[in-house]
């Protein structure tokens, strides 16, 4: 389970996150949505230990995340801005990941590379943006994570690749109780995938709840419509 309590993060005089609370159940897919600049990436960077909170607590199954190697071993992360070592191929990066992650699964890596049709020896820097996202996804999933944090991962992927990607994610959710937090603006896609959503606004989770219950309450409204309704001042009962 991912738990966030009272999380605060400031950048100079600007408060990006202000006492934020968030809960992601084990083995579920949580959709984090919010307008541009609401703090989604800031929150995600703190979940993955890149930024240090100014106040509050972040735990994965009761373990504090900041500077915690064990948590990071079990966390797969695809950031919005990808990074690969210069001139490295997928094979070179896999070799690095293999040395870094204890649970690295070489067989899964080979299967996914074949499935996505990527070149193992070609330079990743020459891949298209979509192919680079696929490469990042393959590497993250091959570490057999218990937690998967995705920051706008499906931008730039074609529908076939997106379907494959979700197939792997949901398969691991079902088989291994993978816990997933995904941030995206593609609310239609999230609507069909997520178990729960959180709407981030003005540094706090304005609304959080199971998607089924939300849709039951807001009859005939799509997630996108619910989101706009929430942003324009309407309030959904949690």
């Amino acid at each position: 389970m991912i738990q966030v309590k009272g999380l605060t993060k400031k950048f100079g005089d600007y408060t990006a996150l202000n006492g934020l609370d968030l809960n992601v159940e084990t083995g579920s897919v949580y959709g984090l949505i919010g307008i541009n600049g609401s703090g989604k990436t800031t929150l995600i960077k703190q979940l993955t230990g890149v930024l240090k909170p100014d106040a509050g607590e972040i735990t994965f199954d009761g373990m504090n995340t900041y500077d915690n190697v064990e948590v990071k071993q079990r966390t797969g992360y695809i950031p919005d801005e990808l990074y690969f070592f210069g001139n490295y191929s997928l094979k070179n990066m896999a070799s690095f990941y293999k040395g870094l992650y204890k649970n690295w699964n070489e067989q899964r890596f080979e299967e996914m590379v074949a499935d996505f049709g990527l070149s193992k020896t070609g330079r990743i820097s020459r891949f298209s943006k979509g192919m680079q996202k696929q490469a990042a996804f393959i590497l993250a999933m091959s570490t057999m994570p218990d937690y998967l944090i995705l920051d706008e991962p499906i931008d730039g992927l074609d529908p076939i690749m997106r379907k494959k990607l979700w197939g792997y994610i949901l398969g691991d959710v079902a088989d291994r109780k993978l816990t997933v937090l995904i941030s995206s603006h593609n609310l239609r896609e999230l609507e069909g995938i997520c178990d729960a959503v959180g709407i981030l606004n003005k540094g706090k989770i304005q609304f959080e709840g199971k998607l089924d219950e939300l849709k039951d309450e807001m009859k005939d409204m799509s997630l996108e419509e619910i989101f706009i309704y929430e942003m324009e001042g309407g309030a959904v009962d949690e």
Binding site: G49, D67, E81, K98, G99
Partner: protein
Amino acid sequence: MNKAIFKENIKRFWPVSFAAFIAYFMCGPFYVLQSRGDLSYGALSSAVSTGNVGYMFVTCAMTVVVGAVVYSYLFKGSSTVFMHAAPASRCELYITSAGSGLALAFAPVLANALVLTAIKLSGKFDGYFRSGSEFRAAEMWNIKSIIGWMIIVWIEIFFIFAICTLSAMISGNGVINVLTSMGLNLLTTLVYLSAQAYASTFLFGFSDGFLTDAMTRLHPVLNYGMNRVVFGNDEMIIGEWSVVIYTLVALGIFTASYWIYTKRANEKTGDSYVFNAVNVMICVLMVYMGSSCIGFIVEDSLRYWGFLLGGIFSFFVGQLIIQKSFRIFNRGLLVSLAASCAVMALVIGCFAADIFGIEKYVPAEDEISFVKVYDSEIYGNTFEISSPENISRVVDYQKMIVDRKTQITAKQKVTAERPEESESWGWFQIDYYLKNGKMVRRHYSIPDSIRADSLSFDDLYSSEEIMGVFDSLISSEPADTQITVFLERYDWYGEPSPYASEYGQYFADKYNDYYGMYDLSDSEKSALMKAFYSDIIRLGLKEISPYDEPVYFNVEIRIAHPLEEYEELAEKSLGSSNEFHDFWYIYDENGIRNGVNEDFGFSVIPQYTETLQVIDEILANHFK
């Protein structure tokens, strides 16, 4: 240490190490190999010398580049996220980056040492040097010297890399990191140079001896480079304590850098500096450097304007670089500028007001061990004084100069503004070697009128301690003496001299065009040396070589002495061709020291009446 990241760093950045190894090879072993077994002291000594300029440059450049690449993940948003999300703690990331950087920097030095060892083991460089050195090749060029060189260069790298690590922890982007690495490594040198410039400008009599010694010790490359350590002879091994101290200081910098890293906010990646306090410090440093540079470039009458405008200009340039924008002008900036200028005013004020009393400082006589005196007006120029009476005379002379500072600076102004009214000047330098191991240097330009007023000056140069240097002329055996007489009609290469005199022409016309080393009999040598001694004692040091008298002859007298009794004097040799009295080692055909030469050089002027008479008689005998 994270093994995966360490391995990856080596894999990615090994070309830097390889390029450095090639550069080391070209600066050392290649130079030896191309001598093709000809035992050149220069080639062999430089290959294991910390003063090899090529080595120094490679060491500094390579270490800065290694620092830039292993810490490059800190300077880009995406790489910062990638590495800090990876399963490695900050401590592991820090230790792994530093460890891999040191491994990359140490490796080419080790490789170069192995190449030098292979060359040594070939056996082709074990014989005697061709000429002119203190050691046989085998004494200097050995495994011990190679290992010693390697360790010293590693210490230099360790120190430079520690500073590069500190720079990486405070910088936000790659360009600023490299500039800061270079700047922090040069900081002590730049501070020394600027302090020397301020002191020389504002402090009457200041000279840089102590500052040079102190400041060069603040960085190992400067220290070991300027001391030019050549291993192999135990006497030339520099103090082991310096190695320990540099290592400890570097470890301290690494520790401080780690602490800074734990406080580093990743969200500041991309800014020039990650900590606001560093922005302020860099600004102050830039104002100091810019103000100093401009202030000392412009002419004296505009100096203070140079300080002010240089400081303002460099402040704004610094802000442009740090903020990466032309939109830097705001009210807060003016406060920073005013503060920086106030710091500069304080620095200049401290020097101008001589708050440390450097101008007036004269060591107490009981603090002084010995004194070296350098005087432009005196034959031989340099003397070492240890007798209490002469030390007292030097102290009195300095006190007289300090008391008459106002008069001297007024005369300097006259000389500058109305050269037609100026008198002639000489310079006088005193190096006090104190009993506590320190050296205090003062250097004065003094007009002849003030010098002439000093009784201490006359008493000093007529004392037994000073004039005693000429005792060898009458105490040495003629058989041990070699005399060369050069007519001042020709220069050292036998070409017509522009300084030929009428009297010299007389000798040339009377005897021959050229006079060299004659096979003088012992009685002739003895008579000549007695005549010299008599003239010198009569004339005194002030008069035996004045600049405004015509020179008839240049005479070199070389006296051979046994090694054991004169070794200490030979060690003190200045080794300068301008020195007219000095001691030199003599070597046999195998390059082994077996004696000491004492050399005198005289310019014979008309006042050498007895000497000229004896030369005339000798030449008359030889040209019968």
